[in-house]
């Protein structure tokens, strides 16, 4: 293992996620007494400096305008080999998640995906990377035996530092050598999601099989309006019953959400679903089965018929708003 690896780097093709990574990266870099750098694409790196980067490797190449796994791997692997960072945090978008392991394999280094917590070990030599397996039932702490230590991090896990326009940083223009990519994008078709994207929603009302008929979704819709929330659902609602488009299914292979408040209404709490809601700040479960596993994973639980509980909650909120 080489000793000379230095610096904390962050990369995400989504600038907003890169800023979140810079928030965590700043803390790690300060603890390590090292520099924080962002790898970015485009013509301007100032925003990365404002959010905490000491240095920005700015790749302004037409081949990198849109993400493509080969080009990004070529470009960033070359940069890593040249500068040898100690830590590399990568944003876990779906593209980020296909890119990180490919990059790690090219660099012959470890990678821990979908981390939930990062912390330096006592000697501050390695990053302890926590992740969960078995749908959140098993919590594991990993370390990388090789460098850079790569972790992928989902959106919403860390907060960006507020932009500070007085911060100074170095912008390093990079001209990467990129081989022609092996795939090309023919077309992108936007998904038709109604209203707010689930992944951006601060409040989500999700429902499952506890809603008995399609018409009864009105109960959920009304409540969603009252609390200005977006509507999500469990897998059977989208995949088997087709009551809602697949984009609104929250879970393992669906959307992973990180709202401030998540209501699970009539959702039993299978591992599939729990994986999608882990990053929620507060989880409220409403279920008529007191033994439903969802209660074990909730902050607040109400045992009861959602057809009664939800209107009661709406009323209570309206009453309280009036009295204030």
């Amino acid at each position: 293992m080489s000793q000379e690896n230095k610096g904390v780097w962050v990369f995400s093709e989504l600038p907003a996620l890169a800023f979140e990574l810079l928030g965590k990266g700043r803390a790690l870099a300060d603890q390590l007494g090292t520099e924080l750098a962002a790898v970015a694409v485009g013509a301007n790196g100032d925003e990365y400096v404002q959010h905490g980067a000491d240095k920005v490797f700015l790749m302004n190449d037409p081949a990198l305008t849109t993400y493509q796994v080969d080009s990004y791997t070529d470009a960033i692997a070359a940069l890593v080999n040249e500068h040898k960072p100690d830590v590399l945090l990568i944003g876990a978008t779906r593209n980020g998640l296909e890119f990180a392991p490919r990059l790690a394999e090219r660099l012959k280094t470890g990678c821990v995906t979908e981390t939930t917590r990062l912390e330096l070990d006592a000697e501050k030599k390695s990053v302890l990377m926590d992740r969960v397996a078995y749908g959140g039932n098993l919590a594991e702490t990993h370390i990388s035996r090789s460098k850079p230590q790569i972790a992928t991090i989902a959106k919403g896990l860390f907060s960006p530092n507020p932009a500070d326009s007085s911060r100074k940083g170095e912008i390093v223009k990079v001209e990467p050598k990129i081989k022609p990519p092996t795939t090309k994008v023919l077309e992108t078709k936007p998904k038709t999601a109604k209203g707010v994207r689930l992944t951006d929603a601060p409040v989500i009302i999700s429902f499952g099989r506890g809603v008995r008929k399609k018409e009864d979704m009105a109960v959920i819709e009304q409540f969603a309006q009252t609390v200005s929330g977006a509507i999500g659902c469990s897998r059977p609602i989208a995949e088997d019953l087709h009551w809602l488009p697949i984009e609104q299914y929250v879970g393992l292979s669906g959307q992973k959400v990180s709202p401030k408040l998540y209501f699970a209404c009539g959702i039993s709490g299978q591992i599939q679903h729990l994986t999608g809601i882990r990053s929620s700040r507060i989880i409220v479960a409403i279920n008529n089965d007191p033994k439903a596993p969802i209660f074990e994973y909730s902050d607040y639980g109400v045992v009861g018929d959602l057809y009664q509980v939800i209107p009661a909650l709406s009323n209570a909120l309206k009453q309280l708003s009036k009295s204030q």
Partner: protein, 264 residues
Amino acid sequence: MVNVIALVKQVYQSADLKIDRATKTLVTQGVPRVISETDKNAIEEAVRIKEKQGGKVTAVSMGPPEAKEALREALAMGADEARLLTDPLFEGSDAHATANVLAAAITKIVDFDLILCGTYSEDLFAFQVGPRLAEICNLPQITYAAKITLEGSKVVAERDLENERQVVEGKLPCLISVTREINEPRLPTLMAIMGASKKPMITWAAADLGLDKEELGFNGALVEVLRSTVSVGERKRIMLQGEMSEVAPQLVKALLQEGVLKAS
């Protein structure tokens, strides 16, 4: 003719896993072992490609000797041959060490045009083995495929991303990881299940793959698991009980105090 390799991982059926809170362990006893869900879609897609264009499907799995069951199921679904990669030396593999073993097997199989696998495994959900394997084999990768169309050596796939479907074109040979959406895996008929036992099932150990002890299992892993504990959840688990006329305002107040809900 398209020869397809379908990668199969055997996992514990996730819906049946439970936590024993008293002993803080994951209860796997009596939990059936199944093919990881998106790998099943990969097998189905491989078989459909063969049925349409001719060719051969080889199902490959690295795992304990029990993984033979998963491969037998793949054969019943329509795969023509199976390779079980099993060796005590493989224990403790991380994604890199696993991809390394699979790459050795694929190199030995030689004759393939397409590798299909699930986008993730149902147990670890690490998303790593596909892209790592593609990198070792120097193959193009297409991930999150919800649709695949083959025309000669050209492949067009629809990648299911967060907010869009991205239609990409690539060339065979390549590795494609598929989502659950791509197809509905078939339930093998009794005839197919019986027929599966007659199909070739070959077991390869480390020595058969020309792999050295140092690059295998725990020794070959680039990532080490320091601790593994059952997660009993960091949630508050406050149960509100009683009359709804009391419980509802109580919950609303609590949520306002948490700062996650606003009174309008």
